[in-house]
Symmetry: D2
Subunit: 429 residues, 4 copies
């Protein structure tokens, strides 16, 4: 097992004895881009404190290796996209296909409608070639289709083995990565040398060890538009209140960044920072008095503790179902203020409009890079990993680490500080 | 005296003895964002090679300090924007003003039309308040106006002293930063405790020690649109050739990223990688034969060595004037191919359309953060610096370091590797 | 007295004896644009049937007159914007102000927050000059603010008289135009020579005698985006159903045009064409079977007869409150289909995001023209009218006619024919 | 020969004896859209002057007929797109294909790269089905490809006959329509019953009897962006001059509408209104003095008489080659002003960026309608015509009339009046 860190060691299927077909170099200064060296890693923590650096934890650097594990003409890959839609899925898939063909791989199979497409009797797979995917990046959503929910790992591995698939790319979120891990573990148990490489997808940007997830920037762009709309409404009416509910079940990144992008938000509510209704009312009251209107942005996971305890529901997987904080706040604010002095509250829940977008150019570049690095990792025999991005480098992150916890906004940190500085809201209320 | 340390040491005007008026905390876990610790730094190089990290060079971490140098009610700030337009200038200025008012500063003066506004008889300055700048972020360009060219530092410092300005923010590029350095050195010589803080602006993204400069992403977005247009033209005609000239005098970042964003570019020409005309013709010929059309993107600084030596001109400052590589390639390609078999070449030079854009939401957030950190640096008595962004943290970079060289694409590195993988072009031709 | 002619006669305050200060001409071919002739009219119906044209009804042509009624230096104008927001309000107001200043008018007052701003104790008016409004077109919504609900005409006329206002421009919808009419009738009763000119605003495009209302095109643009998002969702999931609810209380224009713009909508539901739930279910079932997904667009006024009779509510003005057809259909479709075979329904209600938009360039031109013609009408002493657009010309439409009924989609006509051809849906189900 | 007007009579291939397969009705009020009546026409001039209407000239109303000429299962159609790119070509083609399939036609052939695709040895045709074209509307340009230049009508008709094509749709401009006319005349001469139906494409909007051509609105949108960019540049520099060159060889519609859309243009130069250089300089001088910056928009055909006579060139077809008025004005203005007081002129020539755009939603609807009406016309045996839009109705316009002259801005009319009112420029200078 390679990797020199306890935490972020990446499993490798076997020795890399095949020479890479890519036209890269190992020489500096020859104007030919270089292969990545096997011993390059990226620090987890680049901050020096009191002159000391914590060098104990680092990630394997992603990138093409001089020697690879799989012999391309004898290698078959499969791609599956799962979970909710997110801008950029098709861009990732397009790049996966193109890069696999650059390596000269034998075939690429697209499983349709998520893990359901890996089950006998499920939706039929499609053959993917550079021609087939050439315009996929013009579309939002997933051209392969997606679905939610787990499937039996053993059955899925049966399918993969039956099709002689050597590499499986899974584009998806938390559940998808747990599924990928189950597939990988099942394959490992069988001694079936399957490379399982994840491209982490979560519009909420809540996966650890990846600075931002693909689609997040695009989501922020569209969310900012929704905030601008609500701001226009708030300013256009006497005692206007704009209220926008944005994605963010556990992490308020979209709410935070979109609010910073617009810059004229008065109250940003995120799951990471609790608040009381009375505190909120007092804030709104002050702001209306001072400014004539009030602009509020709430992540969907914010204020979940405000709902009555006996009202809590759990879904099939045992996850607590989120209550709709947007409608809740709308009702409570209207009820609270109408009794004293009329207000005009406009509530916007942009939801699907955000996630169905085509990625922004910057996000498209990021998708391209993620797809490319995922292929490099797989060809070099890495498995049980996702592609990460950390301290300005693409990295390999073990599936186990990537699914271990959620990345959340640190209320003590720089992002939340910027939000409070911009909004002028108190730290707690 | 202005410092010039290898370790990116930042000059400080004096001891920080005033308590910051910002409502921040020093306690972890209290849900109140924290001040930055004085001893926190960010590594220049977060890559571990052979288990070793180079800890010798690091940047001071940017952010609000518990104790500051300037007493806000007795402090006056000035802002100047210089050089070519770039998306986000107004966003930076708006945040500077808002953040200065949050500190409770006495006044903010906006100098108009660049350094010319610091010269007696030049354009008149304006008073900046949060109300004045509240809608500036809806505008492209610079609401303060801009101009090029140096002014006498002594005269500018006279003006600043006459107006009792304690802090000068300079938003601009290379020349602007050299001007800021001259002002700071002149002030230092006089013993005039002026904080000079730069916000580096270069649409080309060629400033060292800052992962990306503000406006760059927006520029890439618009450049990608231009490439898409040319691609549509190239595909719409028999033997169509699309040729887009993009900004990038010394560094091909816009050309590289915008090409990756579109993903269907065949040849990317940048200043960092030389090429021959005959090699280019051979490439085009092959691509037309294989694909029916050809898409070329050229940074304006690419191929400058292809122009006849005696044709080279220098501007007043002694800088070599760039020849128009777009028109040059257009003429040469048309001349070369028309003789054998007709082609349809469409040349697009989007130029000013790119730089006059309003920033994308993501860029707007970045502008906001840069403005905020610039104010924190100034209030803490830092001077002779620019705000940087490196390894996922905002940093302080000495003016001297930021103007010491240009950041260019490393032909051996990851970005250029991705470009070549995408385009399929050979490393050299 | 307020006129009420079948032939769209426009009341005039008195003889036009002042020469227009505009630099226009009455000569053809002199390269100077011409004044409008007093005897030019535009046919209501330009269709020839069996060789016959109905010439009995026509509109007065809008435009600048050689001789005007008001003496500009002695004339004061007021502007009020009422009702729900709509793209382009600020563009109209900006042009009104600019054009009034071109005539050399004494002053322009902006009443804030709708008719409430015309009531003593209400929001304060603002002085409007070309400088003040110069950037208003960069903003969505109404910079003057808006409000709903009627105010006492006598009190409003008191205010106007007290301020010596000669011309009142009212930008608003149905209710606003009824209010404008009441003001005009009250002024007429008092012998107070007030020109009341309306600029009809309704995002639903349901005002008669105006081909399209301002903001409508912009609304269609944004609505089309919402449909595209839902389409992406519908295609991205097995048996996916996209359901978009759009504005359109009485008229399905936004739903019809936005569906045509996207071109891949299967079912378009509008208030003008009733349908049954069972018919709808049968359609959906067929479409899912045939195509795998189904895209539905519903105007908010569609299917109101499907709600239980005893569930109907009326608002203060006696108008029937619309039920939420989007949520209703969502629930019913999910209930109906889930029992037989799982579906994935995604419901989008873009609402405020649509109406807060900045107008598209084409809409901006239209706003500009409407504002200009409104000023020409007022200066020529026309009153009790709105500016219309019909058969490619701007016209004068009596307030009485413009508020007499709603424009709706003709199910026998060309627009609905195009919708059915595109969608493939049967005429009735 | 049908048609009751001398001028706008539409040739018909023969009696319409086949019942239309479309599910339309002839009954009013049955909620089923109606067929068009054969005797419905649209007046050329809907203006009443002195109570009189000119009923002598009118257009046949476009739309589906109860009885058609072609028997769908025995009918083959071809589509060709020619000339410069324009937003919406693919939308038109997509609708043509879809509507032809709704009629149940036997096959649709797409000729590639313009009329060259109709010549033996030219580019190969493709089979068009609804599946093939389903995503074409997401692309700018022409998926069929385009080319310029005439081909021998006899050879093209040979090809059409050989392929048993009954209907040819030609999407293109002036030259294309002349080609279509030549094909139709050649077919008529041979007694070959070919329906030739044109969809007029000209981004300049200069085809008579069609209120606007498809793509024009989209072009105005993008042109407005270019103007905004130049305005930002002009305002951002001392004595800044923004100069934008836009399309418009003979007609200044894009320049006029885009300037109105932005609303802050000082000088609009169009081919229809001559000007002198000295007059222009005087205007610029005044505007700079008064306002500090100056914004100029020029259509490419403006000021062509300012070039030296002996400098005029003609192309192969004998058309005068346009000189580049943008570069010319740039040079002259810089030369003229630099001698007295420095200016900052920024010149933008957005060219291909404009024409390669995907159509705006409103334009997409228009393309859809044009495609639909073109099919209805062809199926009803109409030939030698283009689809027009006039006085709010779609019409049939003889090819001869549509190619007889160019539509230009009337300097005496309403559009130019609005432009002058907005810009404040004098009528002549």
């Amino acid at each position: 097992m390679p990797g020199n860190s306890d935490d972020f060691a990446i499993p490798v299927l076997g020795p890399c004895t095949i020479q890479s077909p890519l036209s890269l170099s190992e020489v500096m200064g020859d104007l030919i881009p270089n292969f990545v060296e096997e011993d390059e890693r990226v620090l987890l923590n680049a901050v020096v404190r009191d002159g000391r650096v914590d060098t104990s934890r680092s990630f394997e650097l992603a990138g093409p290796r001089r020697n690879i594990y799989f012999d391309p003409p004898k290698t078959r890959a499969g791609i599956v996209t799962c979970g909710g839609l997110c801008p950029g899925i098709n861009d990732v898939v397009k790049t996966l296909v193109n890069e696999l063909y650059r390596y000269g791989i034998a075939s690429v199979t697209g499983f349709t409608f998520g893990y359901a497409g890996l089950i006998p009797g499920g939706p039929s797979p499609v053959v993917l070639t550079p021609e087939v995917v050439s315009d996929w990046n013009l579309h939002g959503g997933s051209m392969l289709g997606s679905s939610r929910g787990p499937q039996d790992p053993a059955v899925m591995v049966d399918t993969l083995q039956r099709m002689s698939i050597n590499i499986l790319f899974a584009v998806g979120g938390d559940g998808t990565m747990r599924g990928a891990r189950a597939i990988w573990e099942e394959a490992t148990r069988r001694g079936y040398g399957l490379a399982v490489v994840g491209v982490p997808k979560t519009i909420d940007n809540d996966i650890p060890y990846i600075t931002r997830t693909f689609g997040f920037e695009t989501a922020v762009s569209r969310a900012a538009e929704a905030i601008r709309s609500a701001l226009v409404e708030a300013r256009g009416a006497p005692r206007g209140i704009g209220l926008v509910k944005l994605m963010g079940r556990y992490s308020g990144y979209i709410a935070a960044y979109a609010s910073l992008a617009v810059g004229d938000v008065d109250l940003v509510l995120v799951p990471e920072v609790p608040f009381t209704l009375e505190g909120l009312f007092a804030q709104i009251s002050d702001i209306l008095e001072r400014q004539g209107y009030c602009m509020i942005v709430a992540a969907e996971g914010a204020g979940q503790d405000l709902f009555p305890e006996d009202d809590i529901q759990y879904d099939a997987s045992g996850n607590r179902k989120l209550k709709d904080i947007g409608l809740f706040l709308k009702e409570r604010i209207v009820a609270r203020f109408t009794e004293e002095k009329s207000i005009n509250l406009k509530h916007i829940d942009p939801g699907y409009i955000i996630r169905a977008a085509v990625p922004t150019p910057n996000d498209a570049v990021f998708c391209h890079e993620l797809g490319e690095y995922a292929v490099h990792a797989a060809m070099a025999g890495r498995t049980g990993l996702v592609v990460g991005y950390w301290n300005d480098h693409f990295t390999h992150v073990p599936l186990v680490s990537a699914t271990s916890r959620r990345k959340i906004i640190d209320p003590d940190g720089a992002l939340w500080r910027s939000v409070l500085q911009m909004s002028g809201q108190p730290a707690t209320f």
